[in-house]
């Protein structure tokens, strides 16, 4: 077991290293750089740039050097100083831009995740135990509808419906009042109101997957020999379902949780843009669009890092949970 974990941790380092190269390389791929996109945006506003101005900008941002030199400089600063560089478009340190939005991002994503699991696990269970019943069909249809409707479209429809019905389109997570005065107990209700649309939109997009997993796993479990044996021995139906089957069925769901570690960081980008949520997804999108490479690079790198960490964690948990994996390792 110790060797297994050690091996995994050792592999972790080159993976992250390779990841960082790939990330940086891919960001560099689109034609042009931050200066081109910046100049074109500001020119559209009537600002005038001479070719000398543009060359100066490149020099200031260090964009006049080849990408691998930029990469090594960036990496060196990260490793030696923990400095992730400066965001060109925000003209301040990348990490401060990220930290501005990270707490809210994590809170929102957690709320949506909790919503997703609270809704989908019971539904999946119900569907499995009442397979092909009317309820099963209804939940399945709703689930698939949620999965099939593009999130951003649902968001627009709900915002417009809200505008038509109440006169307030509920854009963003905060009303103007909260933005001005900060989140307080007195306006917490407004904040909750603004949460309705995001939770429905992003939540429904994810529930279907979980419902289907739980349902399929449960259906698998209830036909297994041990269930038959238990039932023959007179164990109550409730114990069979909740103590044995459900536990086994939830295994893939729980290990899937580790993978959602990175979506905590920046998930549901498009929906967040449509709904004007002040979380990290839109920041990443803007950074990629304007080729603000250190900002985009840092977000992507962190995301990748979290995926790797998540996988590592789930590997370890699985090895701990499932003796078969440990045995396989030992026999190697």
């Amino acid at each position: 077991m110790r060797n297994y974990i050690l091996k995994r941790v050792l592999m972790f380092i080159p993976t992250v290293f390779l990841l960082s190269i790939v990330v940086f390389f891919i960001i560099q791929l689109p034609p042009g750089d931050y200066v081109t996109s910046y100049v074109s945006r500001m020119s559209a506003e009537g600002e005038v740039f001479t070719s000398q101005d543009i060359a100066n900008l490149r020099e200031q941002y260090g964009l006049d050097k080849p990408w691998y030199i930029q990469y090594f400089k960036w990496m060196k600063n990260i490793i030696t100083k923990g400095d992730f560089g400066y965001s060109f478009s925000y003209s301040r340190p990348v990490w401060s831009v990220i930290m501005d939005r990270l707490p809210l991002t994590v809170v929102i994503t957690l709320i949506i995740m909790i919503f997703t699991y609270l809704v989908s696990v019971p539904i999946g269970l119900y569907s499995a135990l009442h397979q092909y019943s009317v309820g099963d069909f209804i939940f399945t249809s709703i689930g698939f509808l949620g999965l099939a409707t593009p999130n951003f479209l649902l968001a627009i429809i709900l915002m417009f419906a809200s505008f038509k019905l109440t006169g307030d389109p509920l854009i963003g997570l905060f009303s103007e009042e909260i933005l001005r005065e900060g989140l307080k107990l007195s306006n917490f209700g407004i904040f909750l109101k603004h949460l309705i649309i995001p939770v429905i939109v992003i939540g429904t997009g994810n529930t279907c997957g979980v419902i289907r997993t739980v349902r399929a796993q449960m259906l698998d479990e209830v036909t297994k020999q041990y269930v038959l044996t238990a039932r023959a021995k007179g164990v109550s139906e409730k114990t069979i379902v909740y103590k044995y089957c459900l536990r086994a069925a939830l295994n893939p769901v729980v290990s899937g949780l580790a993978g959602s570690l990175s979506s905590l960081f920046s998930g549901s980008t498009i929906s967040a843009i449509v709904m004007n949520m002040a979380i990290l997804g839109p920041v990443l999108y803007e950074a990629l669009k304007s080729q603000d490479m250190y900002l985009a690079g840092t977000i992507l790198l962190t995301k990748g890092f979290l995926v790797v960490v998540g996988t590592l964690l789930s590997d370890i948990i699985l090895a701990w949970l499932d003796p078969r994996i440990r045995y396989a390792e030992r026999s190697n």
Binding site: S37, V39, S40, A44, T50, S91, E286
Partner: protein
């Protein structure tokens, strides 16, 4: 249809004004000094009419008044009295407006973070001299000026007792400092603007010299005559001052490189260069940087991050303008900006009445009309100075790299064929839902160089003739029903545009028309920066809806989009580079295009306003003859939505960068009333 008529009338009325503005200066005489006379003689004294103004009711002298929250601060001893904050009474600028307003309330806008810095930059901008909507300029931060006979020495007067937003005095030192330490040294990452340059008698580039005379007077001296200096300054130079006292504590030339870098880090910038650029050029974003603007961003404000979700510009207590009654401006307490990530959110926020002023698209017209009652807004239309509707402008790169295509694009017959191959009536009906009419790309009605002939040149729909013209260009009909080059290779016209241009519909139509006369056409939208990059490196072919469309309020003052002066507009391609580099780079033009460049040389050298206008008209004639930019539909007026309760908002004006877009509405004079 009624809307259209109103719009046209308005364009006419306003544009005639512009023309009058342009020509008016020349009618007064041929002396360069005279060109600038209207502003010199009358405006300064009038604009800075001494206050206090007699109170109409009692005949006594009205006192200066201020917003109640400032009054509270004065009473609490936290702020000097309003008389002490304003400039000396005889130098205060008085804004004359339709109606005198009352204090209070806020404007709310949506914005997309720092990308939108020019939006709130322009509406709060205070230049030395500002444009009026008739195209002439008037003193603003400056009180007035004198100029010598041959327009080489300008003496500019400032307002005594005027203060920065932090209460420090604003003097000639701040102007001289800005020029010497920031412009000439390129502290904010911009090379010296053209308005400060002039060619001397030998044709060498020379730069202006700024000199302080006394605290409120300075001179600008040129090596050669510069009759349009003030107009150019209003366009290029905009503001022409910076708070010396503030910069002395952060710039490397005063405190040393090391210390400056340390300061920069403290302020959150990567180094002193970045700090210089952000605080010097985009200074209105920087909390605590003193300005002269009506609203500023304070260091201790909770919402001073222009990249944050919510950003507020607050009233400048030291603002130096008053209304006729002696009320210190601005009327509105603060400007609030809500960050959005998608333009549709702005639309929703207009519909629910949150946004107070915004330019909107005609495609949203129906939904906007439907919700007018609820949102409490009304429409205002301002003229546009674009030569043709943006997505209906076709720029054929005159220096396209493919030699065969280059010969073709340079052939006027080919351009005529592309122009008459399109049924403009049908095109305009489809593209604008009947709002606009088909037209050739040419100056807006009433603007300099406008002629009906030009506006209608090559606009008759005639596919038969187009085919003949294509054949006369040496193209041969191929077996596939499309024209080939004479050597049998395929000819394909590749239309390009940028993805946000919304040009898909117009491109599809053009492809249909071109296909009908036998031109195989492709269409590819790319990211704006990619397109810009292609234009810069001369890798573009035919651009629909160019990033920099042909548009100008005056070819004399701002020629970039219609004269190849630098790498900018797509139609002249690498000629711009050729001109800017003095023939070292780019592609040398031939024929009329070369003549255009030569005429521009003459225009720049001309010292006399009448000559300038003659040359400008000659240049426009060349455009009319060649139709380098093909237009298919007129440019519609800019559609603006504003809260019904906002007063003093101009019913008609021109929406253009030179007039600072919305800036010409003078937001400090707007107020809310039932």
């Amino acid at each position: 249809m009624k809307r259209r008529v109103i719009a046209l009338l308005m364009v006419l009325a306003v544009m005639v004004g512009v023309l009058a503005g342009c020509t008016g200066t020349t009618e007064t005489g041929s002396q360069p000094t005279k060109a600038a006379e209207p502003t010199k003689a009358s405006a300064p004294t009038e604009a800075s009419k001494p206050t206090p103004v007699p109170d109409s009711q009692t005949g006594s002298t009205a006192k200066f008044t201020e917003a109640s929250e400032l009054k509270a601060l004065v009473e609490a001893g936290k702020l000097p009295s309003v008389e002490k904050r304003l400039p000396d009474a005889e130098d205060i600028m008085v804004e004359y407006m339709d109606s005198v307003g009352t204090y209070g309330e806020a404007f709310t806008f949506t914005y997309s973070g720092k990308n939108a810095q020019w939006f709130y930059g322009k509406i709060t901008e205070e230049p030395l001299f500002r444009f009026k909507s008739d195209g002439t300029i008037e003193p603003n931060v400056a009180k007035g000026y004198d100029v010598n006979e041959d327009a080489t020495v300008y003496t500019i007067y400032l307002r005594k007792g005027m203060k920065w937003s932090d209460g420090e005095p604003f003097t000639a030192d701040d102007v001289v400092f800005f020029y010497n330490e920031m412009c000439v040294k390129e502290t904010f990452g911009k090379s010296l603007w053209d308005c400060f340059k002039v060619k001397d008698a030998e044709g060498n580039n020379t730069i202006a010299e700024f000199k302080k005379v006394d605290d409120y007077t300075f001179t600008v001296t040129f090596q050669n005559s510069k009759p349009t200096f003030l107009e150019e300054l209003a366009i290029n130079g905009k503001w022409c001052f910076a708070p010396e006292h503030w910069y002395k504590e952060i710039l490397p030339q005063f405190i040393g490189e090391e210390e400056a870098n340390k300061k920069a880090k403290e302020m959150g910038y990567s180094d002193a260069a970045a700090m210089g650029k952000e605080t010097g050029y985009y200074y209105w974003n920087v909390p605590g940087r003193p300005t002269l603007r009506p609203w500023v961003v304070f260091e201790n404000s909770a919402h001073n991050d222009c990249d944050g979700d919510y950003f507020v510009m607050e009233r400048n207590p030291y603002y130096w303008k008053v209304d006729e009654k002696g009320q210190q401006l601005p009327y509105i307490d603060e400007l609030r900006f809500i960050k959005i990530s998608d333009p549709q959110q702005t639309l929703l926020k207009i519909l629910d009445g949150t946004v107070d002023v915004a330019a909107v698209s005609y495609t949203d017209y129906d939904v906007l009309v439907e919700n007018m009652e609820r949102g409490g807004y009304e429409f205002v239309e301002w003229s546009s100075v674009s030569w043709a509707d943006l997505i209906s402008q076709l720029h054929l790169n005159q220096t396209v790299k493919d030699e065969k295509k280059r010969a073709l694009f340079q052939n006027p017959d080919f351009r005529q064929a592309l122009s008459i191959a399109v049924d403009r009536e049908e095109y305009a009906a489809i593209i604008s839902d009947g709002f606009a009419e088909g037209r050739q790309a040419s100056p807006a009605k009433g603007a300099m160089g406008y002629s009906e002939e030009w506006a209608n040149k090559w606009t008759e729909y005639n596919p038969e003739k187009a085919r003949q013209l294509l054949e006369s260009c040496g193209l041969v009909m191929g077996a596939d029903g499309y024209y080939d080059f004479a050597d049998g290779t395929d000819f394909v016209l590749n239309l390009q545009t940028f993805t946000d241009a919304n040009a898909d519909e117009s491109a599809e139509l053009l492809m249909k028309y071109f296909g009908e006369v036998g031109i195989k056409t492709t269409y590819k939208p790319v990211d704006r920066s990619v397109l810009d990059n292609m234009t810069t490196s001369n890798d573009h072919e035919a651009i629909l809806a160019p990033v920099t469309p042909a548009t100008t309020v005056s070819i004399i003052l701002r020629p970039d989009t219609i004269v190849p002066v630098r790498n900018y507009a797509p139609w002249y391609g690498a000629v711009g580079n050729w001109y800017a580099s003095g023939g070292k780079e780019g592609v040398e033009p031939t024929g009329d295009l070369k003549k255009l460049c030569e005429l521009y040389d003459e225009l720049r050298a001309a010292v006399n306003a009448k000559d300038k206008e003659r040359i400008a008209l000659e240049m426009l004639k060349l455009h009319e003859k060649n139709i380098w930019v093909i237009g298919y539909m007129e440019s519609l007026p800019v559609l603006i939505v504003k809260d019904k309760k906002i007063k003093n908002f101009p019913e008609s004006s021109i929406f253009c960068d030179e007039f600072r877009d919305f800036g010409i509405a003078h937001f400090q004079c707007l107020y809310f009333a039932e």
